[in-house]
């Protein structure tokens, strides 16, 4: 990388850092903006509370409306109760008593219009959290707002009521009344109430809305998107069960988070199923999450492996409105789930402590937050803690999935690293192997060259020894003895040249054509036979090519036939010679017949029989069969059977080069 691009990159990094700092600072500024300027709106920390019984009615919008608008009856009042005020459940039961009477709580506040009130401003009443069945707000004796349209969400919606824009006179006393219908068995609560001009409270409302509804809703979308992403991964690689588990967890958790934001149904039978379905996701989530952790850390536990499915099934059945008790088991149900999660997290902690990876530790931290969030939410629901707070579980889901994403990311990065390393080392090994192979090839080539050289030297030696060498030596001896006529000497020298020519002819390329080889012999010797008055009958059939017929073998074949012919010339006194070559099954038969005087086989062999033995030796070299049949007075027949295919290599006399070859495999491996 050159200097300019390096500095450009550094500048980019600095710019990004500055931008990030600006963003963080901006957010801090926005968040630290005072939610309210105390001068213009008032927060009430106490109120007058009257509790009055109301007629029991059906638990739906119409029934609740009737109860909220009933005329006041006898009421027991307390002039000042502190806010937040929590009226805890009395004698809680798991199963609702349909005939149990309900009560209505009246909170009364007196708001004094401030001096700097701007005309046309609306009056806004806001309380972050309250519990009960439904509520209604009256300002100056007029019903301004109730929450009957989504009364089942009372538990997770702030109370907001706004008067019509009206002309309040500064200093005017305005009576604010909040009515909450509730079941004594479940109690009710109200957090502090802020009252003031609508404009001054808008910011506070928006922030609360964002934290309590928008973010949890966003978490649902995020979880669904992640689910789609993981599902895609799983679809592409089915063997990776972790992705399927994550997909299921995402879907389950997004369903669970639904209950924080979506309005429920007015009618109980729909509402009960809706709540049952959203609640039953909790044990499933716990189980799926546990299975995912197992994917990361494969230490197995029988208790958890069989206990978890049983727990999930039991809880799923219990929470659905099948046995009629489900609608009211909410808190107990959540408590059991939290306890199981706590047990699970203990186990995960235990795993993490005993040699868990970084992923497992991060997941542990997220789980811890999840359990804390669950406990917090239960406490809030039970009106024991943080009566104005928001629920944390939607955030816990994001934290846990963040941890999962981290784990998956680590896995991918690890896999990619491994792959990189693998291909690197593979390339390296390949290169090394290639070098090794090249070296071996080189060595093999050298050995082969050495072998060929040794082979050729052996062959030349043998040829010289057999042919030219012996003929020349013989002529030398004849000359030394001094009884040689020039005619004889000429013959000896001609023989030598003939032999040399045969050697050279054997080197001519014939591509395994025995016919051409024999033809060459005739071409050289034919005139000699003619001169000796011998008629040669030539019978050449179509012959299969002999693949083993290299120059050394060609020379042997030629020598055999040549020797036979020269024997005929010298000794037989024949007038007719018949040479035939034909294919006979897996062999080629070369037959040489003369009509000469013949000889006695047994005496020929007894008398040393060098010529005959020589022919046999040459034939054996070729793995051929040689038969000579002769009888005195009826000519001689020589029959050479050459195999078309040779099973093994020629039984060679050059042991040295063979030994070199035998060492080869050891050198290669």
């Amino acid at each position: 990388m050159n200097i300019t691009s390096t500095s450009a990159l550094r500048a980019l990094h600095i710019m990004m850092a500055v931008l990030g700092l600006l963003l963080v600072a901006g957010f801090c500024l926005v968040l630290s903006q005072p939610a309210h300027n105390g001068v213009r709106w008032a927060r009430f920390e106490q109120a007058q509370l009257c509790i009055e019984p109301v007629q029991t009615a059906r638990l739906n919008r119409a029934g609740l409306l009737e109860q909220l608008t009933q005329a006041p009856t006898t009421a027991t009042c307390e002039p000042r109760v502190p806010l937040p005020h929590v009226a805890r459940a009395v004698g809680g039961k798991f199963v609702r008593d349909a005939n149990e009477p309900m009560q209505r709580a009246w909170y009364s506040l007196q708001y004094t219009i401030p001096e700097n009130w701007r005309p046309g401003e609306s009056l806004l009443v806001y309380s972050p959290r309250l519990s009960g069945l439904a509520w209604q707000v009256r300002i100056g004796g007029k019903i301004v707002r109730d929450n009957l349209d989504d009364w089942r969400m009372t538990w997770n919606r702030p109370l907001v009521a706004r008067s019509a824009p009206s002309q309040f006179a500064p200093g005017e006393q305005v009576a604010i009344e909040l009515a909450i219908v509730f079941e004594p068995a479940r109690g009710h609560s109200l957090s502090r109430v802020s009252i003031g001009p609508a404009s001054t409270l808008a910011n506070t409302l928006a922030k609360r809305h964002y934290l309590q509804e928008t973010l949890p809703f966003a978490s649902i979308l995020m979880l669904l998107a992640m689910g789609v992403f993981f599902f895609g991964f799983w679809w592409a690689r089915r063997a990776e069960k972790a992705h399927l588990l994550l997909t299921c967890s995402c879907v389950a958790w997004s369903i669970f988070n639904l209950q924080f934001v979506l309005p429920t149904f007015d009618e109980a039978r729909f509402s009960d199923w809706y709540r049952g379905l959203t609640s039953l996701t909790v044990p499933w989530i716990i189980w799926l999450v546990y299975l995912f952790v197992l994917q990361i850390d494969r230490r197995f536990s029988r208790l958890f492996a069989f206990g978890m499915p049983a727990y999930v099934l039991l809880m799923s059945v219990l929470v659905l409105p099948i046995f009629g008790l489900s609608a009211d088991v909410g808190l107990v149900y959540q408590a059991v789930n939290t306890a199981v999660s706590a047990l699970l997290i203990l186990r995960v902690f235990w795993l993490a402590a005993r040699g868990g990876s970084l992923e497992l530790r991060v997941i542990c931290a997220a789980f811890l937050f999840g359990v804390v969030a669950g406990a917090h939410d239960i406490a809030v629901m039970a009106q024991r803690f943080d009566p104005e707070g928001i629920f944390w579980l939607p955030y816990a889901s994001l934290a846990v999935f963040g941890a999962f994403l981290f784990a998956v990311q680590r896995r991918y990065v690890h896999a990619i690293d491994q792959h990189q390393q693998l291909s690197d080392s593979l390339a390296e090994r390949l290169a090394a192997r290639e070098r090794e192979l090249q070296a071996n090839q080189q060595r093999l080539l050298e050995l082969e060259r050495a072998h060929v050289l040794a082979d050729e030297r052996q062959r030349l030696m043998r040829d010289m020894h057999d042919g030219l060498g012996s003929t020349l030596t013989a002529s030398l001896v004849m000359l030394e003895q001094g009884n040689t006529s020039p005619r004889e000497l000429e013959n000896v020298l001609r023989e030598s040249i003939d032999d040399l020519r045969t050697v050279i002819d054997s080197l001519e390329p014939v591509d395994g054509e025995l016919a051409t080889l024999l033809a060459t012999l005739r071409f050289r010797l034919g005139r000699r036979l003619e001169a000796a008055g011998i008629e040669l009958q030539w019978e050449m059939h179509d012959l299969p090519p002999l693949r083993w017929l290299g120059p050394p073998q060609a020379l042997q074949v030629m020598r055999i036939v040549q020797e036979a012919l020269s024997n005929i010339l010298k000794h037989s006194a024949a007038t007719h010679v018949h040479l035939s070559a034909r294919a006979l099954g897996t062999a080629i038969e070369v037959r040489l017949t003369d009509n000469g005087r013949g000889f006695d086989m047994s005496s020929a062999l007894q008398a040393g029989g060098r010529g005959l033995r020589n022919l046999r030796r040459r034939a054996a070299h070729l793995q051929a069969e040689l038969n000579v049949v002769s009888e005195i007075g009826s000519g001689t027949t020589l029959c050479l059977l050459l195999p078309v295919e040779r099973a093994t290599a020629e039984p060679s006399s050059h042991q040295g080069s063979n030994a070199t070859l035998a060492r080869l495999p050891a050198a290669v491996s």
Binding site: P509, A519, F523, M540
Partner: protein
């Protein structure tokens, strides 16, 4: 009378060839030189009927002399004189334009007979050369195609017989032609090869190691 020119660097052989040629009344020697330069000089003003040339000359390759002669005097019969008559040398000579060859140790009557044969329009051929020509002029396949432009069917037939060792007279009998016609065919084939390879003569000679000495 047949005018014969001999190019041979070995005086003994030159002497021998001269004696053999002179022994035949129908022949006369028009020139006998011992090196390539002298041969080329002589060829400037003399047109022999038959040129006997040794390939292995001290100054110029015999191949060059053959080529020069074949171009200058297409009517001249060129005979190469070699020790072994091996494929390499004979083919290179034929490609340069020779139509016959002699072995240095040939018996005198063989020698004279071959010159006569050549004058009569026939060429000698060995089975190995026949085989190589068969391959070279008709690549691919043993059976000659009828519409072959390089080698006629009859020519290919003759070459195939020669490669299998049959003599001219035997082939003549088999094909119902005279032995002389067989050798005449061979001469024609040689000429075809020479024409065929004239374009690539230099390349061929280099390949055979005859020019790069």
């Amino acid at each position: 009378m047949t005018k014969i020119m001999i190019v041979e660097d070995d005086p003994a052989f030159l002497n021998r060839f001269c004696r053999i040629v002179m022994s035949e009344p129908q022949f006369e020697i028009c020139a006998a030189v011992g090196n390539g330069t002298a041969a080329l000089e002589t060829l400037m003003h003399t047109a022999p009927d038959v040129l006997l040339v040794d390939l292995d000359l001290p100054d110029i390759s015999g191949i060059d002399i053959i080529r020069e002669t074949a171009q200058r005097y297409p009517q001249t019969d060129i005979m190469v004189v070699t020790v072994f008559g091996d494929e390499r040398h004979v083919l290179a000579s034929i490609e340069a334009g020779a139509t016959g060859y002699l072995l240095k140790d040939s018996l005198p009557d063989e020698f004279v007979g071959l010159i006569h044969q050549l004058r009569a329009g026939g060429s000698p051929i060995s089975p190995v050369i026949a085989r190589v020509l068969l391959r070279q002029l008709r690549p691919g396949g043993r059976i000659p195609p009828v519409d072959n432009t390089k080698l006629s069917g009859r020519e290919a037939e003759i070459l195939a017989f020669i490669a299998k060792g049959f003599s001219s007279s035997e082939i003549g009998k088999l094909l119902s032609i005279s032995a002389h016609t067989v050798t005449a065919h061979v001469k024609k084939i040689y000429q075809k090869l020479a024409v065929h390879s004239r374009g690539e003569a230099v390349y061929e000679a280099t390949k055979l190691g005859l020019l790069a000495r």
